[in-house]
């Protein structure tokens, strides 16, 4: 009896094994490496693992990095960035000039450029796009929809108090004076306008496609979420870039293919890479949300690259001979901010003592896996306007104590110090340990540190906006575009509660310089103004910047030609893959 029942069971197992073989069989070996089944053309296929699906492929309506990454391949902007830098270079505009008071910009457009639907790119198309954005109404005016328009241009043609958008706009009008000349008029001078135009939200789309596929049609549902009814942003994004949209299966993959009608294909390359057509036949973005899964998919060759590698995974990748790590130039800053309206940090001497009491080198060495440098000022060194000769504060506990004693304080001096919990930012991978190290070095420097902490969002950020983070706190920023205005302009041009500058007026001089710099159109003069602002900031000391971190990208070794940009925007046109 026993024998037979065992046979029966064995039969069942055998059946399953058979089924499994049928399912899993069919020529063993590795699956899905891009090399094995590659696209066949000269360039092959590259699979890039994104962290998530894009939201939509209509630049003006998105502010997330994953959307921008794809949009950057399909579209181009009037002005571009020199690869790997934040320096401006011609994009769809070959050249441009401002009038004397900096309120009118004339863009001379590249000729012979076609959109991917075969229509012509010209000055009318440029103005069509700008006017479309300026005339947005209703839920399009919500900051979640048109964040970057509002950062660069402020409000819209019609003001809606419920929208959250500011009143009044920097944009006034756009005029196509001839087929290849577009004149954009602003309501006031703004020199960060040019750098702002490099952002993917200001990509120029085909007016024909925008209209044909109802880019501006949609409704707001009961939850207040805008719901596009057109298919432009999901199925028919149409630009002038080196890749064109092919297909998108949400959660699975987004496929772009080389645009053979790309304007620069057979022409001599101008200064940058945008003058060349794409090397690859196909570029696929595959969403993989989990970090460990992205790394494993890279190791198996299922994907060829991914962004924002976790610091702890870097040694694994470096130890694998088939993989490579690429550094993104630092474009962020982590800082210890001070509330200059609260005693004792309202006293410049105390702030100085804190600056000398912070072991910034120690923190950068210990907690950034060798992927950061000590910050000397509130913007990264790659940006123009960075001054080499600001006052620096090298860690010196004795000097800190000395300053406090000379200023008449009895040691230790008590300060309230805040740090965020439940968060890791590129510039601050581990806030708690940064804080602990700083607290220890401050305790050696004549301070008594009272620790406070709150969850990053919304508590900590809310406290920061309300100026409610004690005397000192950890915070940081990642830049969006290559202009000092996006760093020190954001921090100091207007009074902010986080620094206590709504009550403390020590930074008023800096604010004036920043206002001047924003309106100055001469780059050399602007550079000088920002350098001066940086010097003054580091003397007034509203905070101590401590780290610029270098985010990492990982690729398989057979990928070449990728130039990481400090601002997350880069074309895959120059990338090639060896089969």
């Amino acid at each position: 009896m026993r024998g037979t029942s065992l046979k029966f069971v064995l039969l069942l197992v055998a059946l399953f094994a058979l089924a499994a073989a049928g399912c899993g069989g069919g020529g063993g070996g590795a699956t899905g490496t891009s090399a094995s089944t590659g696209g066949g053309g000269q360039g092959g296929t590259l699979v890039f693992a994104s962290a998530a699906d894009p939201v939509a492929l209509d630049g003006i309506l998105v502010s997330d990095g994953e959307s921008s990454r794809v949009i950057e391949q399909i579209f181009e902007t009037l002005i571009d960035l020199k690869p790997g830098t934040t320096d401006l270079e011609p994009g769809l505009a070959e050249s441009w000039e401002a009038n004397a008071d900096g309120t009118q910009y004339t863009f001379h457009l590249r000729q012979g450029v076609k959109f991917q639907d075969g229509t012509d790119f010209n000055a009318d198309a440029v103005c069509f796009n700008f006017n479309r954005w300026y005339n947005f109404k209703g839920s399009f005016q919500n900051p979640s929809a048109t964040y970057y328009w509002q950062v660069i241009f402020g409000g819209f043609k019609t003001y809606d108090p419920n929208s959250g958008a500011p009143k009044g706009s920097l944009y006034k009008s756009c005029e196509a004076t001839d087929a290849n000349t577009a004149v954009i008029t602003l309501t006031k001078p703004s020199s960060s306008f040019l750098a702002g135009l490099t952002l993917t939200p200001f990509s120029i789309g085909s007016p024909t496609a925008l209209q044909k596929y109802d880019a501006d049609k949609g409704n707001v549902d009961a939850d207040g979420i805008f719901h596009p009814t057109g298919t432009y942003s999901t199925q028919h994004p149409t630009g002038t870039g080196p890749f064109q949209f092919d297909s998108w299966t949400r959660g699975d993959k987004l496929v772009l293919k080389r645009f053979d009608g790309y304007w620069g294909k057979n022409s001599d390359s101008p200064t940058g890479f945008n003058g060349k057509g794409a090397q690859l036949d196909q570029l696929i973005f595959k969403p993989i949300a989990d970090n460990a899964a992205r790394l494993q998919a890279l190791q198996t060759g299922e994907v060829n690259g991914y962004d924002l590698v976790e610091p702890q995974d870097i040694p694994t990748i470096q130890g694998d001979s088939s993989l490579q790590i690429l550094d993104r130039p630092p474009f962020n800053v982590a800082y210890v901010g001070f509330d200059m309206s609260k005693p004792p940090t309202d006293d410049p001497k105390v702030r100085q003592a804190i600056a000398y009491g912070l072991d910034r080198q120690g923190v950068v060495d210990s907690f950034y896996a060798g992927r950061a440098e000590v910050a000397k000022e509130f913007m990264p060194p790659t940006l123009f306007g960075y001054a080499d000769d600001v006052t620096t504060y090298t860690y010196d506990p004795n000097k800190a104590k000395q300053i406090l004693q000379q200023a008449g304080y009895t040691l230790p001096v008590k300060i309230d110090f805040w740090y965020p919990s439940d968060v890791s930012r590129p510039y601050m991978p581990d806030p708690k340990r940064n804080f602990e190290a700083f607290a220890a070095s401050l305790e050696k420097s004549g301070f008594k540190v009272v620790a406070h902490s709150a969850p990053w969002s919304p508590d900590y950020l809310g406290r920061s906006d309300a100026g409610n983070l004690g005397n000192a706190y950890l915070l940081g920023w990642t830049g969006d575009f290559g202009d000092p205005d996006d760093f020190i302009g954001v921090f100091f041009q207007t009074p902010q509660k986080q620094w206590g500058t709504t009550k403390n007026h020590e930074l008023d001089g800096v604010m004036k310089i920043l206002d001047q710099a924003e309106q100055e159109t001469d780059k050399a003069k602007r550079t000088q103004l920002y350098e001066e602002a940086n010097r003054q900031i580091m003397d007034v000391l509203p905070g101590v910047p401590y780290a610029h971190s270098k985010p990492a990208l990982a690729f398989t070794k057979n990928v070449s030609g990728y130039v990481p940009s400090p601002v997350d925007l880069q074309s895959f046109a120059t990338v090639s893959i060896k089969k």
Partner: protein, 334 residues
């Protein structure tokens, strides 16, 4: 029978109502909101206020709950706040993936779990029984994500036999009329796609099926041990029926009753396990959909998605209950 079904369906009302309250308040108790999830450190107070106003989050809680309840009543859950697509559309796109994965995992659990339990019972207290006990305990106590990482490391990274992420290789293109990729590839007549999709299912199915496998093995063992000593089994053997007939017709069939109950309960387990499995394998189903939604504080997707899943669990359990009648005609549903 009909009354039974109707009564069970009516039970859905209090279940969904209770669940709606739980989900509604739970997501609002999470720190952060859609605004800060969307904007991060760029969330100025004005922008946060505007987004809260736009989403109606500045309205009193009872008003918000009433609005949500109306959605539950009409099965219209609005649009995802990240992709801006209708929640029901996304559900339809993603649900087949989870079904495919759950069926694969369920099959794995059944096809290995029942024989394992059966042999263990037949070799009660023998070495096979002890081994099966250890296997079950390991199966039950190994966290899915850990097992998944180990499986991927061995079979994908080291051996290169199986893929580690997704449902299908990015380079294979097939039309997706049903979104059941196995079916889609068959409809397309593309056998290499079918094999590719099958390979993508193997590791997630093992990871997801390990706990149900262990549970099913244990229950099968207990049930078979019980039934084996029943009078009718002894009688059947005494009559001289071939052992395979006794085992199949009398032992296993009667043991199936408790097993089928457990299988029904496993569906809930499979769906909750899918949350982790899909995330680790970047498998675009309901589980990873809900995880992403929670991370982005995507209220419409969380609220709608959880309801859909709850309804499915209730229906599957109903089907299991109905299947009792088929397995054992003695049970009359009333």
């Amino acid at each position: 029978m009909l009354r039974f079904v109707v009564r069970r369906l009516l039970l859905l009302v209090p279940i969904l109502l209770g669940l709606s309250i739980l989900v509604f308040f739970w997501i609002r108790a999470l720190p952060g909101g859609p605004a800060s999830a969307l904007l991060g450190e760029r969330a100025t107070p004005q922008a946060v206020a505007a987004i809260r106003h736009q989403y109606g989050l500045d309205k009193p809680i009872p008003v918000q709950y009433w609005k949500y309840l109306k959605q539950v009543g009409t099965f219209k859950f609005g649009n995802s706040s990240t992709s801006r697509q209708a929640v029901s559309t996304e559900f339809k796109q993603r649900f087949p993936a989870t079904v495919e994965l759950s069926i694969a995992a369920g099959l794995f659990a059944l096809v290995f779990g029942i024989p394992l339990g059966f042999i263990a019972a037949k070799r009660y207290q023998g070495p096979i029984d002890h081994v099966s006990l250890v296997v079950s305990l390991v199966g039950i106590s190994t966290p899915i994500f850990f097992l998944a990482l180990i499986l991927k490391y061995i079979f994908a990274v080291k051996l290169g036999w199986l893929p580690s992420v997704g449902r299908i290789s990015p380079l294979i293109d097939i039309p997706h009329p049903t979104n059941f990729y196995l079916l889609d590839s068959l409809l397309d007549g593309n056998m290499s796609a079918f094999v590719d999709v099958g390979k993508h299912l193997v590791l997630p199915a093992i990871a997801l099926g390990s706990i149900p496998l262990a549970i099913i093995a244990r229950i099968t063992r207990a049930a078979v041990l019980d039934v084996q000593n029943e009078d009718y089994v002894r009688t059947a053997r005494a009559k001289g029926l071939p052992p395979i007939t006794v085992d199949y017709r009398h032992v296993l069939r009667n043991a199936m009753l408790p097993i089928s109950t457990i299988i029904g309960l496993q569906v809930g387990l499979l769906l909750s396990g899918a949350v982790l499995t899909e995330t680790v394998f970047a498998f675009p189903g309901i589980g990873s959909w809900l995880v992403d939604a929670i991370k982005a504080r995507n209220y419409p997707v969380i609220q709608g998605g959880v309801m859909f899943v709850a309804i499915i669990v209730v229906f599957v359990n109903l089907i299991v209950d109905l299947s009792y009648g088929l397995l054992n005609p003695k049970i009359r549903l009333s």
